[in-house]
């Protein structure tokens, strides 16, 4: 097995969204494909209480040399895969830097704030503009919209796996993902493969 050199070691990826969107599944699929590719991978994620509508993130750290800690130090993320726009900005605020690459699903998930009312959600266009300004490169991938067209919004997470693989920011190609996806979704292989390839296609457009 030949393991490709990384553009940077460790390569630090953050996957972020809201509890229930499939953060853990994405990190698991990507992580397994990377381990099979011969990399050392550490993944730290939010679990438990944060699953219930709270902000969630997975830190994925990829290396050829060392098993890194499950936390990316502040300001040290290389890539953010955002399933939700404000959660993407939340991560940039803490972990971003001028070289950061962002891949974003622009569909908002609204929230309640500490007082129990609905929190004020920022203007979406302005929000996306700000994220672009703070990123070296941004891909906007309408994953939820595409997933709804496919019949179930939950496919958005697999569309996004396709997008990150298609973007070429990770040492992974389509072929390395396919067996992992088949094992992850044995009952719905076709639909998930379609979602995955849709993601690849969208990011390459």
């Amino acid at each position: 097995m030949t393991t490709k050199q990384l553009v940077k070691d460790p390569l630090n990826l953050i996957i972020t969204g809201v509890g229930g969107q499939g953060n853990v599944m994405i990190s698991l699929v990507i992580g397994n494909a990377l381990v099979r590719g011969g990399y050392l991978v550490t993944i730290g994620e939010t679990y438990g209480a944060s699953q219930r509508g709270g902000p969630v993130m997975s830190h994925v750290r990829i290396s050829k040399e060392t098993q890194y800690s499950p936390f990316i130090p502040d300001g040290h993320a290389d890539i953010i895969l955002g399933m939700e726009p404000v959660e993407t900005l939340r991560m940039i605020g803490q972990f971003g830097n001028p070289d950061i690459v962002t891949i974003i699903n622009p569909r908002p998930i609204y929230s309640i704030d500490a007082t129990g009312s609905q929190a004020e959600y920022p203007d979406l266009d302005k929000l996306m503009e700000t994220i672009k300004e703070l990123s070296a490169k941004t891909w906007i991938v309408s994953a939820t919209e595409e997933a709804q067209k496919m019949g179930n919004p939950i496919f958005a997470n697999v569309v996004l796996i396709g997008a990150i693989v298609g973007s070429g920011v990770l040492p992974l190609d389509e072929k390395s993902l396919e067996p992992v996806l088949r094992e992850t979704f044995p009952k719905e292989v076709e639909a998930n493969m379609a979602a995955f390839h849709k993601g690849v296609e969208l990011v390459r457009q």
């Binding site: 679990y47 944060s50 800690s69 499950p70 404000v86 939340r90 803490q94 001028p98 998930i109």
Partner: protein, 645 residues
């Protein structure tokens, strides 16, 4: 994705720490595993139970941690290697048994307790540290510093337990237990196991029966001898090692996930030639000779550890006993204020401490960028509170509770417990719950409050527990209330799963950990057998639930029980389609003009309901809505429409 029983020695798999621990137990040839669910420990039993039948082992979700530990000890007494796993709170529940088990020792087969601690109490009621408990009870304790070690240490710990004849603890923390990393697999043993409880005893012997705590003082002395033996083994353990220069400006002493943070921090600061790291895997008893040797490497020692200053205090204690004239280094850590005395650590906190001690600068990113990113995030990013899931029966339950207590009008209060419904302390459950401590505590507290009538107390008391919590620790408090005729209502939120920790089965579900159908221990039959008045409601029927609660609160006799029964939406949603299609009738919703002041999004606030700023009216988020239809019954205008899907 590899299952923990994959027969592929030498391959590298991506496992969470808990799966690595379970794999280690399999490689050690365990025959018996028992646990009670609790984040961050649940996946140890979860993964073992899923392959137990195939691997010829026995695995169970026990009614609570104490029974899990006792059952596992039973297996060890009969010669079968056994594991009990739980979260840190569970260790409190078993501590009485542990303190006595240390006196008797274990059987011929190894017995291991895994405690997963939760620094920062991310999914817990407290952030208790298991390490001081091991010291207090004279139990050897080890802690893995990587996913690989989580597996390897677990396997080895069974050998150690057998060698010294005592229970051993593996302590893990959230960022090992719940983080993922590479684990290189070993072989799975293939051996037939035969269980037998050996009853041979010699009456001339001082200790005629092995598994008795008497004579206790003598047994206490034996426990100390076993610790001495463990210490000897630990002095040369491969799980303790040093990384760094021969002489260092600073020596870090660390363990667990902090070992990973320390390495990250030293790299980020590029101080590999100045800072050495002594990583300890065997934490109690401490390998004193090994530590003493390493103390000579530096004049400055920094302790990097989470929760309690366990290593810090134990090493200081050790240094105090060094011979006169020994060099005493400067100690940095929680006592000096260089490390947080509470909460979880991370690489940034370690970077900060090292930078401050060595007076080196650290700039994580471009200053201008940092300013802009932080300011933008602060002004744009709204807070996102935890809440009940869309379609959660608990939201409906607490809506009924809120209305019933208000209608009753005597300032009634709710005592709470551990589970998803603890979120009713906040906006998710309309701020209804007033107390939260440990499993079962809400009912015990209620049974005290319900006896305060002679002091003029006349507030109605409603204790709330989940179904799994009811079996775990509530039954004695309920019986206490009956025996002493205390005035309270016990409300059991029965969603047919241990939902908060991942939907594990329990005695009321009719299913075992290994997926076998079993007898249902009916909570209503149990309560009725105690002579208690029981009512069962569907929380989605808001009107009936509110009326029933009101009636039960008004009846001021001894304990009464209301069961709020509806399956967890996350479980139902996996099996069935949504029952309703819900939408807002824009002609009926008068939005900002309505006297309700956006009741549905401001107060009820199911994540499936959003306020559309453009139209000034309510709207359903079709991506989130699960079609439960409860919100249709709260809208005063009848503007939320549910139609059978």
């Amino acid at each position: 994705m590899a299952s923990i029983d994959i027969d592929a020695p030498g391959t590298s798999q991506l496992f969470i720490g808990n799966e690595a621990i379970a794999r280690g137990a399999l490689e050690a040839g365990i025959g018996f595993a028992a646990a009670y669910p609790g984040t961050p420990s649940s996946e140890i039993m979860g993964s073992l139970a899923s392959i137990a039948k195939k691997m010829g082992i026995y695995a169970e979700w026990s009614i609570n941690e104490k029974v899990a530990m006792e059952a596992a000890a039973g297996a060890s007494f009969a010669g079968i290697r056994a594991l009990a796993s739980m979260k840190q709170n569970g260790v409190n529940v078993i501590s009485d048994f542990l303190a006595n088990l240390v006196m008797t020792g274990i059987g011929k087969a190894g017995l291991v307790l895994v405690s997963c601690d939760d620094p920062s109490a991310i999914s817990s009621s407290n952030e208790q540290d298991t390490r001081p408990l091991a010291k207090w009870l004279d139990i050897p304790l080890v802690e893995p510093g990587s996913f690989q070690e989580a597996k390897d240490m677990t396997k080895w710990l069974f050998d150690l337990a057998e060698e010294i004849g005592t229970i051993c603890i593996l302590r893990s923390v959230t960022r090992i237990a719940h983080a993922r990393g590479n684990v290189k697999l070993g072989k799975l043993p293939k051996k037939e196991q035969k269980a037998y409880f050996d009853q041979i005893h010699d009456l001339r012997n001082l200790m005629p029966t092995k598994f008795m705590t008497v004579p206790s003082a003598l047994r206490h002395a034996f426990a100390h001898l076993k610790l001495d033996k463990a210490r000897e083994t630990f002095e040369s353990s491969p799980f303790n090692y040093y990384l760094g220069p021969d002489k260092a400006e600073l020596l870090i002493i660390t363990c667990g996930s902090c070992w990973l943070y320390s390495q990250d921090a030293v790299k980020a600061l590029k101080v590999e030639d100045k800072v050495g790291i002594l990583k300890l895997g065997t934490l109690w008893p401490l390998p004193e000779k090994l530590i003493e040797e390493h103390l000579n490497k530096s004049r400055n020692i920094l302790f990097v550890e989470e929760i309690d200053p366990f290593l810090e205090r134990s090493v200081m204690e050790m240094v105090a006993n060094l011979p006169e004239g020994s060099r005493r280094p400067t100690f940095y850590g929680k006592r000096s204020g260089h490390m947080n005395a509470y909460g979880e650590l991370n690489p940034d906190l370690v970077i900060k401490a090292i930078a401050s001690i060595l007076s080196v600068g650290y700039q994580p990113r471009d200053i201008e960028y940092a300013k802009k990113a932080e300011e933008t995030a602060k002004s744009y990013v709204p807070e996102r509170m935890m809440t009940f899931c869309a379609g959660c029966p608990h939201r409906a339950t607490f809506w009924a509770v809120k209305n019933a207590l208000k209608l009753d009008g005597r300032d009634g209060l709710v005592t709470g417990d551990i589970g998803c419904y603890a979120m009713a302390l906040g906006p998710a459950g309309f701020f209804q719950v007033r107390t939260m401590h440990c499993m079962g505590a809400g009912t015990g507290v209620a049974s005290g409050l319900g006896k305060l009538g002679q002091f003029g107390f006349d507030q109605p008391v409603l204790a709330v527990v989940g179904d799994s919590t009811f079996y775990h620790a509530t039954i004695p408090a309920l019986i206490n209330g009956i025996y002493n005729q205390s005035n309270f209502v016990l409300m059991i939120l029965d969603n047919n799963a241990t939902a908060m920790t991942g939907f594990q089965p329990h005695p009321g579900t009719g299913m075992t950990a290994m997926g076998e159908p079993t007898k249902v221990v009916s909570m209503e039959a149990l309560c009725r057998s105690l002579g208690v008045h029981v009512e069962i409601c569907d929380p989605f029927d808001l009107e009936n639930s509110t009326e029933t609660l009101l009636k039960m609160i008004a009846d001021g006799s001894g304990p009464r029980v209301v069961i709020m029964r509806r399956e967890c939406e996350l479980v139902r949603g996996r099996k069935e389609k949504p029952p309703y299609k819900v939408h807002i009738d824009p002609d009926k919703c008068i939005g900002e003009a309505c006297g309700c002041d956006s009741l549905c999004t401001r107060v009820f606030h199911c994540p499936g309901l959003i306020w559309d700023k453009k139209t000034g009216k309510s709207k359903i988020d079709e991506v989130i809505c699960t079609g439960c239809g409860v919100c249709a019954d709260i809208c005063p205008q009848g503007a939320i429409i549910k139609e059978a899907a």
